[in-house]
Each structure stands twice: as structure tokens, then as C-alpha cells.
């Protein structure tokens, strides 16, 4: 449609973003519209408050962490390319992509490793590359309702870390994390079809 192409022209850096994220033109456009809709004051970037306005996120136990993941490195603003970059993690994995792995190119953002890395970062708040028992406990606390006691949570956290921890350092590194999830179909579990 004519309007679409004119909108496409509005997206700053469209080509660059597309190359980086792998989104199709239509998906990118959709995301851009969503970005604009979220950006209440037409600032051109999103702040935390904008994302917090999404009602459903407020009742998602991991909502805050997801919002934080949009603001890497402590920045307070996310522009469209950053927005798209984060969402690119949830693009379904293309069959062709997985086969034609150009070794020179960086891994596509929606590869299994990158999806796992995204999830890992949600757990690992202090970015030390490990999920400590405390961090696991915090996540558990987030996700569990009130009737579970702290001790139970702690023992579950202990066990979880213990299951995954292979080198015995009491924390789950990224590799251990991926290993513990090697049987899970991450490509399916962390993909949203609409973002194809």
C-alpha cells in the first residue's frame, strides 16, 4: 500500500535495523507503529514510564525485569532501534537462517543462544555472568504467590542452582544455564509468531 511505503520512510535507520534484527518490512512497520503508540509524548524515544503504562505488564511478575531489559547499560531511554533489537530476540527462528550460518556474520538476534542470553540476563541482575542462588531466589519469589514460605522457596532455589551448577561454584553460569535447558525447545518457547 502506498501509505505503508511512506511510513516506512519514516522509520529512521530502517535498513540498518532490518539488517540487524532480521524483521520483515511489515513486522518492522508494525513495531514502529507500536513504538509510536507507546511513546505518549512523541518524544522519539521510550522511557521506563512509557513501558510501565502498559497495564498488563504491571501484573506480570517479570514485567519490571522485561522493562529493564529494554534499557541496557542503565540508560533511561530507548529509541526505536533499541526497541526493535530487544524484540528481535523473539522472532521465530527461520529454518533457512539456522542452516545458512555465515560464519563471518554475527549470530542473528533470534538465534537460540541469543534467546537464552536474553533470558539469562533477566535472571542475572548484577550482570556478573552468573545466576547466584540469591538471584534465583529472587526470581522464584517473583513468580510464586504468597502462600509459599521463604524456606521452601530457598530450598527450591538451592535445588535449582544445584541441578544446574556443574562446577560447584554455587552459581549458574551462562553455559550451565544453556546446558540445563538443552532439552527444551527454546526456539518455540521464546518466539512470537507475529514477529516473523
Amino acid at each position: 500500500m502506498g501509505s505503508r511505503s511512506s511510513h516506512a520512510a519514516l522509520i529512521p535507520d530502517a535498513d540498518h535495523i532490518r539488517r540487524e534484527t532480521g524483521f520483515s518490512q511489515a513486522s518492522l512497520l508494525r513495531l514502529y507503529h507500536r513504538f509510536r503508540a507507546l511513546d505518549r509524548n512523541q518524544k522519539g524515544y521510550l522511557s521506563r514510564v512509557d513501558l510501565q503504562q502498559i497495564g498488563a505488564l504491571a501484573v506480570n511478575p517479570l514485567g519490571d525485569r522485561i522493562i529493564d531489559s529494554f534499557f541496557p547499560d542503565g540508560s533511561q531511554r530507548v529509541d526505536f532501534s533499541g526497541f526493535a533489537r530487544v524484540l528481535a530476540h523473539f522472532r521465530p527462528v527461520d529454518e533457512e537462517d539456522s542452516r545458512i550460518q555465515d560464519l563471518k556474520q554475527p549470530e542473528p538476534l533470534n538465534s537460540r543462544m541469543n534467546k537464552l542470553r536474553f533470558a539469562f540476563q533477566l535472571y542475572d541482575l548484577d550482570r556478573d555472568g552468573k545466576i547466584s542462588r540469591n538471584e534465583m531466589l529472587q526470581v522464584l519469589r517473583l513468580m510464586v504467590g504468597v502462600q509459599v514460605t521463604e524456606e521452601q522457596l530457598e530450598s527450591i532455589a538451592d535445588r535449582t542452582v544445584q541441578e544446574a551448577d556443574e562446577d560447584g561454584d554455587g552459581a549458574v553460569s551462562f553455559l550451565e544455564f544453556t546446558k540445563s535447558l538443552e532439552k527444551m525447545n527454546i526456539e518455540q518457547k521464546m518466539s512470537i509468531r507475529i514477529l516473523k
Binding site: R30, L31, R34, A37, L38, L51, Q52, I54, G55, A56, L57, A58, V59, N60, P61, L62, G63, D64, I66, L87, F90, P92, E95, A119, L122, V139, L140, L142, M143, V144, G145, V146, Q147, V148, T149, E150, E151, Q152, E154, S155, I156, D158, R159, T160, Q162, E163, A164, S180, L181, K183, M184, N185, I186, Q188, K189, M190, I192, R193, I194, L195
Partner: protein, 773 residues
């Protein structure tokens, strides 16, 4: 049968079942007719186009029995299995309709068939399939409802299941609807509720009896098939027909699968690749249904019946024997993705939940109402209405996967530990990972177990008796709690307008709860990290302190007191926010006044309330004699937060992980006595609840431990839950403390909707009082 997988892939399954079967039937029939026209079929086979269509319709249906038998051996990955199996189940309706339609056309004679008959045929397809499904669902509802009340007559539970499922079948048959669909829907629909309602033993009984019966039935069917094959008076051979049929069914099935998969892959998240398609087309086994249908043909109307019978027998034999035998090597050769029957790890369970939440959040960010959205809506509805109606109250609370996983893991650990010769009773430092070292294992008396398992975990008394160690039971209790406690991923609000005006809904309560936590966290992040740390630490501390009381009552009081306190320390903004959400929660909590509402984690106005909830939960687990610090006064409470002391938290955490045997006895007695004395039914809650408001804010803290008598309300509220839990009653227990907590928070709320305004004011007032303390 995994229902979630079934519904996830329902689109594909329906496509293959309906479109695929129709395609197979028509193409096979027409091809055979063409074959006859071409003269390859001996003329003694007197069949017209309609006859061939009839034959095509009965030979084209994939048979669930055969598929199940073969695929169970092969263990392909679940998606593939569920698609083929689901298809074989759902195509029954299509087959039945097609068969009947063609049969009636044949009987009418092809000259008399008119256009309206075709339309009637198509309409009857819908009637038969949807009607069959509806019958099944009705019986599912009945079954779930009746199993809800079988607590005292456990012995008839398996009987009920069998009878009602069979009744569904018979009813559908009577009404000429699709009986297989009826039974399928009955099973699918009632599975969740019946599993929760019936006892563990009944579950086992049903499972193994069904397996045995199914085996017997399969055997009988195939025996009949074999015997009929030998009895040559029943059939007549025609090579052209037989070979042609064999070829065509294979060919057209493959073609059909390829075409449909190509279409479906446009819409699927995980496309079905070529290997899957090969397995799907090769796995289309025909079975006894085809044979039964062909035997039923009327020889006078269908003169070629004998040839059809012979062909059918050959086809069934061929598909079952040749295809069935070779599919396993084929699967191995093609390196089909096999099902990974791995032991469930806690990690996977937890991360799966995390991913669900993440996906839901990202979908929200993207603003997309996808499949998850509708699933959520359904689960909302289910949680709100269906589960409460159909599930036993005690079972209602205890449903979660992580709990099950943890439970099983712990049981396994315990068993392996004992198997290795370890003596649980003497294990001071168990190597089992998840066990905090507990000396309480030494107590294995039934009451102890009851106590622990009375944490709201609906363990049958029977189950309790059979569990071997106290630890297992503890773990089981813990698991159940955790299970019930895990937040379900993303719900969508129907009215996402104000946060203040959300209807009572369990899901929304959870939402509010989570929301509270989130808000709290956000505010905390405003403050110094120190405060954050101490806050999060003091949360457990408060919880522990709360539930370390020697009697439930004090706990209730203490916990009630805590939230307001906590709130007082926060920014007013947070307070107000929490207030509002609390009020919502109280509203929603009112709906759960009855014991029947078993949602444990519901109605936590604030995270403090959450703490309380946890406390109450733990209380139910063990009104155990943990040593607690002297009830923290307001000042004490303030201290940790303001000054960011971590010691108290440390103190608490070490406490929590150890059960102090010394106090056990006293705690024991107290809990027992409280259990006895507080056997008052929960209904007394209501009046007591209203009395709550005056209490919590100022009074709880100082009052903490011993004031049993001073607060009859809490004694009521708490003990009933304890008592119930202890007695394994299927009355809700967690609700009571929860509701208690809510009540104080909400101020003088009667159990009706409160306007946000008043709620706010109440809240603020209470908070202020708290802060002043």
C-alpha cells in the same frame, strides 16, 4: 493424552482430520472408479461411482487404535504424535458422516440424489461432529461435578469415571452422533478436574484398568479381523481392486499430507518439516473402524460388498503389519526427532514458567493478541468459574507444575537415599541438594505429618499414610504450596482501564498481587539500594517472625500487623497505590469468603500481605515451634528498614532453615491444641473479619506471640485453616488468613464492593497509623 499439546496444535489436527479425510475419501473413491472405468477392475465388481465413494469414505479414515498402538512403540516427538493421534480421533466424525451419507445415497440410488441431499450431508457433518463433542462435554461436566463429592466414597471413583465415559459413548451412539468424538471430548474436558478430585489410588486404578481394557479390546478386534480373513465365504478377491486401493491410499494420503502441511506451515510457529510429513503419511494406519464399517454394508444395496470386504481386510493388514512394523526402522533411519523422555528437572519447570511470563510480557509490549491471549482468557474463565464449580476445594488450591516436579524430585531423592542405605532419621547433614538440614525429620508421627502436610496441601489421608518419611511429606507439602503459588503467566484484563476498578477475579487478584509487588519494587528502586536490600531481606524476616509464633493466632495477628507497618515506611505514593490495589483485592477476596475458594495466593493486597500470606501458608504447614525473636516492636521493625540492617535477616534465615527440636514439643502441643480448639468452621470468619480492622495496625506488633485469647478473630481465622489443613479437610484454609489480612488492610470493609475512594481513605489512615507506630 497431553491436552495442552492437543489444543496447541488443534488447528493442524482439525485440518488433517476434516480436510484430510475428505480429500482421502474423494480421491480414493474417484481413483478407484477411474480404475474401474479403465477396466483394471474385474467387471464382476459391480460398483458405481457412489459405491466407490462409499468405499473410499470408509477406507480413508486413519484409525486411532492402530495409530496409538504403533506410535507408542515408536516414541516420536510429541507434536508429531499428537497431530497424528488427534487426527485419528477427530476424523471419526467425518468418517461416520461420510459413510452414512454415501450409504444413504447408495440406498436411494444414484439417480435420486439431489442437490439438497448434498447440502444435508454437509450439514449433518457439522451436526454429528459438534453434537458428539457436545455430548462428550456434557458428560465431562457431569463427571467432574460428581467426582467433586466423592471424598468419602473413594471406592466408586474409578467406577464413576468408566461409567460416565461409557455413557457418553452410548448416548452419542444412540443419537447417531459421533461417539468417538464424544468420548474424546469427555476425556479432554474432565481430565483436569477429575485428576484433581479423585484420589491418587483411584487415579492409578483408572489408568491401569483403562490400559488393560484397551489392550483387551484391541486384541479382540484384531482377532475378529484375522478370523474374518480366514473365513473365505465372507469375501471375494479382486486383484485390481485390492492393489489399486493399496496404492491409492498410500499415494493420496501422502499427497494430502504434503498439501495440507504446506498450507498449515504458513500459520504455524514451528513448521512441520519434510521428515514429519513422511512420518505422518506413513503413519496413517487403517484399522478396525474400516473393517466394521465395511461389514455393515448391505449386500443387497451394495453388490460389491464382498470385494470391498476383502480389500478392506488386505488394506488393514497391510497398513498395520507392514507399515506398523516398518515405521520404527523408518523413523530411526530418517532420524526423526524423538520424544525426549527426560526426567523433569526443576530448572526446566521453572524456566518454562519464566518463559511463559516473558512471552506474555513481550506480547503485551508488542500489543499483540495472539494465541496466548485466548488461552489466557480461557484459563481466566476456567479459574473463575469452572474450577470452582468442578473441583474439590482442597484440590483447587493445589495445582501447579513446579510443585509436582519438585515433589517428584524430592521423593526420588528420598527414595534413593534410603535405598542407598541411608537412614533418614539420623541424617544430620543430608547430601540431598534441596533439603535444608532439618531435624524435624525425626518426627514421623502421623500428627506431625498431618501438621506438615496440613499446609493446605490436599494430600489424601491415604497418601499421607503411605508416604514413608516425614521429609517426603514435608516436601510434598512444600511442593503443593509452591505449585499452587506459582503465578500463571499473563492474564489480560478485560477492562484495562483503571487499576481501581477490576472485578473480582482470581486471576486479577493474582494480578494485583503481582502488581503490588512490582509497584513496590519500583518504588524501592527509587530509594537507596540499601533500603532495597534491607527491604527484601526484611520481608522474609517479617514473614518468619510472623510465622514463627508458637501459635497460629499470634501469627495471624503479627502478620496482619506487618503489612500496614511496611506500608507506612514507604512512600505515600506506594501506599496509595497499594491501597487501591488492595481494595481491589479485598473486593475480590470477598468473593472468596467461602472456604470453597481455595486460591491461596489470591487477595494479597500488598507484598506485605503477601508476606502474610506466606506466613499463613507456612503456618498451615507447621505452626511449628521455631524460635522467634521476641515479637518485634514497631521500633524494631522500623530499624531494619531504616538502618538497613542485614543481621536480622540473617538471623531469620538461619532460623528458618533450622527446625529447632527443642521447641518442637511445645510447638507441637500448641499446634495440636490450636488444631483441636480451633475446629470452628470457617464461616465464623465473616464476623471475625470485620473485627479485624481495628486490630492490625497498631496492635499486632506488640501483641505478637501469646495473645491467643485476645483476638478471637484471628484465632478463628487461623485455626480453622489449621484445623482444616490438619484434618485434610477439603475446605479452604489459606483463604482464611488471607482474608484476614485483607480485612485489616481494607479497613472496615464489608463484603461488598467498596468504592475506591473510601478504600483509599481507609488505607491512608491505616498507613498513617502504621507509620506512627
Amino acid at each position: 493424552m497431553p491436552s495442552r499439546l492437543f489444543f496447541d496444535n488443534l488447528g493442524a489436527i482439525l485440518t488433517y482430520a476434516v480436510v484430510g479425510t475428505l480429500w482421502n475419501a474423494f480421491t480414493t473413491g474417484v481413483a478407484l472408479w477411474g480404475l474401474q472405468q479403465a477396466g483394471l477392475v474385474a467387471p464382476r465388481v459391480q460398483a458405481g461411482l457412489l459405491d466407490f465413494l462409499l468405499f473410499g469414505s470408509l477406507i480413508s479414515a486413519v484409525d486411532p487404535v492402530a495409530v496409538l498402538a504403533v506410535f507408542e512403540e515408536v516414541h516420536v516427538n510429541e507434536t508429531l504424535f499428537i497431530i497424528v493421534f488427534g487426527e485419528s480421533l477427530l476424523n471419526d466424525a467425518v468418517t461416520v458422516v461420510l459413510y452414512k451419507v454415501c450409504n444413504s445415497f447408495v440406498e436411494m440410488g444414484s439417480a435420486n440424489v439431489q442437490a439438497t441431499d448434498y447440502l444435508k450431508g454437509i450439514a449433518s457433518l457439522f451436526v454429528v461432529s459438534l453434537g458428539g463433542a457436545a455430548v462428550g462435554l456434557v458428560f465431562a461436566f457431569l463427571l467432574a461435578l460428581t467426582t467433586r463429592f466423592t471424598k468419602r466414597v473413594r471406592i466408586i471413583e474409578p467406577l464413576l469415571v468408566f461409567l460416565l465415559a461409557y455413557a457418553a459413548y452410548l448416548t452419542a451412539e444412540m443419537a447417531s452422533l459421533s461417539a468417538i468424538l464424544a468420548v474424546t471430548m469427555c476425556g479432554l474436558g474432565c481430565k483436569k478436574y477429575v485428576e484433581a478430585n479423585i484420589s491418587h489410588k483411584s487415579r492409578t486404578a483408572v489408568k491401569y484398568t483403562m490400559k488393560t481394557l484397551a489392550s483387551c479390546a484391541e486384541t479382540v478386534i484384531f482377532m475378529l479381523l484375522g478370523i474374518s480373513a480366514v473365513d473365505s465365504s465372507k469375501w471375494a478377491w479382486d486383484s485390481g481392486l485390492v492393489l489399486g486401493t493399496l496404492f491409492f491410499i498410500l499415494f493420496f494420503r501422502a499427497l494430502g499430507v504434503v498439501l495440507q502441511t504446506w498450507v498449515l506451515n504458513q500459520f504455524r510457529l514451528v513448521p512441520l518439516d519434510k521428515i514429519d510429513q513422511v512420518v505422518m503419511s506413513y503413519g496413517g494406519l487403517r484399522g478396525a473402524v474400516a473393517f466394521a464399517l465395511v461389514i455393515l454394508l448391505d449386500r443387497t444395496k451394495v453388490p460389491a460388498k464382498d470385494y470391498f470386504v476383502a480389500t478392506t481386510i488386505v488394506v488393514v493388514f497391510f497398513t498395520v503389519i507392514v507399515q506398523g512394523l516398518t515405521i520404527k526402522p523408518l523413523v530411526k533411519w530418517l532420524k526423526v526427532k524423538r520424544s525426549e523422555h527426560h526426567k523433569p528437572t526443576l530448572n526446566q519447570e521453572l524456566h518454562e514458567h519464566t518463559f511463559d511470563h516473558i512471552l506474555a510480557a513481550v506480547e503485551d509490549v508488542v500489543g499483540h493478541h495472539g494465541y496466548h491471549y485466548w488461552r489466557d482468557r480461557w484459563e481466566q474463565f476456567d479459574k473463575k468459574y469452572l474450577s470452582q464449580l468442578l473441583m474439590r476445594r482442597s484440590a483447587y488450591r493445589i495445582r501447579d507444575q513446579i510443585w509436582d516436579v519438585y515433589y517428584r524430585l524430592n521423593i526420588r531423592d528420598a527414595i534413593s537415599f534410603v535405598d542407598q542405605g541411608g537412614h533418614i532419621l539420623s541424617s544430620a547433614g543430608l547430601t540431598l541438594p534441596s533439603m535444608p538440614s532439618r531435624n524435624s525429620v525425626a518426627e514421623t508421627s502421623v500428627t506431625n505429618l498431618l501438621r506438615e502436610s496440613g499446609s493446605g496441601a490436599c494430600l489424601d489421608l491415604q497418601v499421607i499414610d503411605t508416604v514413608r518419611s516425614g521429609r517426603d511429606r514435608e516436601d510434598a507439602a512444600m511442593h503443593h504450596l509452591l505449585c499452587g503459588g506459582l503465578y500463571k503467566p499473563r492474564r489480560r484484563y478485560k477492562a484495562s482501564c483503571g487499576r481501581h476498578f477490576i472485578s473480582e477475579d482470581a486471576q486479577e487478584r493474582q494480578d494485583k498481587e503481582v502488581f503490588q509487588q512490582n509497584m513496590k519494587r519500583r518504588l524501592e528502586s527509587f530509594k537507596s539500594t540499601k533500603h532495597n536490600i534491607c527491604f527484601t531481606k526484611s520481608k522474609p524476616r517479617l514473614r518468619k517472625a510472623g510465622h514463627k509464633k508458637k501459635d497460629g493466632v499470634a501469627n495471624a495477628e503479627a502478620t496482619n500487623g506487618k503489612p500496614p507497618r511496611d506500608l507506612g515506611f514507604q512512600d505515600t505514593a506506594a501506599v496509595i497505590l497499594t491501597v487501591e490495589s488492595e481494595e481491589e483485592e479485598s473486593d475480590s477476596s470477598e468473593t472468596e469468603k467461602e472456604d470453597d475458594e481455595g486460591i491461596i495466593f489470591v487477595a494479597r493486597a500488598t507484598s506485605e500481605v503477601l508476606q502474610e500470606g506466606k506466613v499463613s501458608g507456612s503456618l498451615e504447614v507447621c505452626p511449628s515451634p521455631r524460635i522467634i525473636p521476641p515479637s518485634p516492636t514497631c521500633a524494631e521493625k522500623e530499624l531494619p528498614w531504616k538502618s538497613g540492617q542485614g543481621d536480622l535477616a540473617v538471623y531469620v534465615s538461619s532460623e528458618t532453615t533450622k527446625i529447632v527440636p527443642v521447641d518442637m514439643q511445645t510447638g507441637w502441643n500448641q499446634s495440636i491444641s490450636s488444631l483441636e480448639s480451633l475446629a470452628s468452621p470457617p464461616c465464623t470468619q465473616a464476623p471475625t473479619l470485620t473485627r479485624l480492622p481495628p486490630h492490625p495496625l497498631g496492635i499486632e506488633e506488640p501483641q505478637v506471640p501469646p495473645d491467643l485469647s485476645s483476638d478471637p478473630r484471628s484465632s478463628f481465622a487461623f485455626p480453622p485453616s489449621l484445623a482444616k489443613a490438619g484434618r485434610s479437610r477439603s475446605e479452604s484454609s489459606a483463604d482464611i488468613p488471607q482474608q484476614q489480612e485483607l480485612q485489616p488492610l481494607m479497613g472496615h470493609k464489608d463484603h461488598t464492593h467498596l468504592s475506591p475512594g473510601t478504600a483509599n481513605s481507609h488505607w491512608c489512615i491505616q498507613f498513617n497509623r502504621g507509620s506512627r507506630l
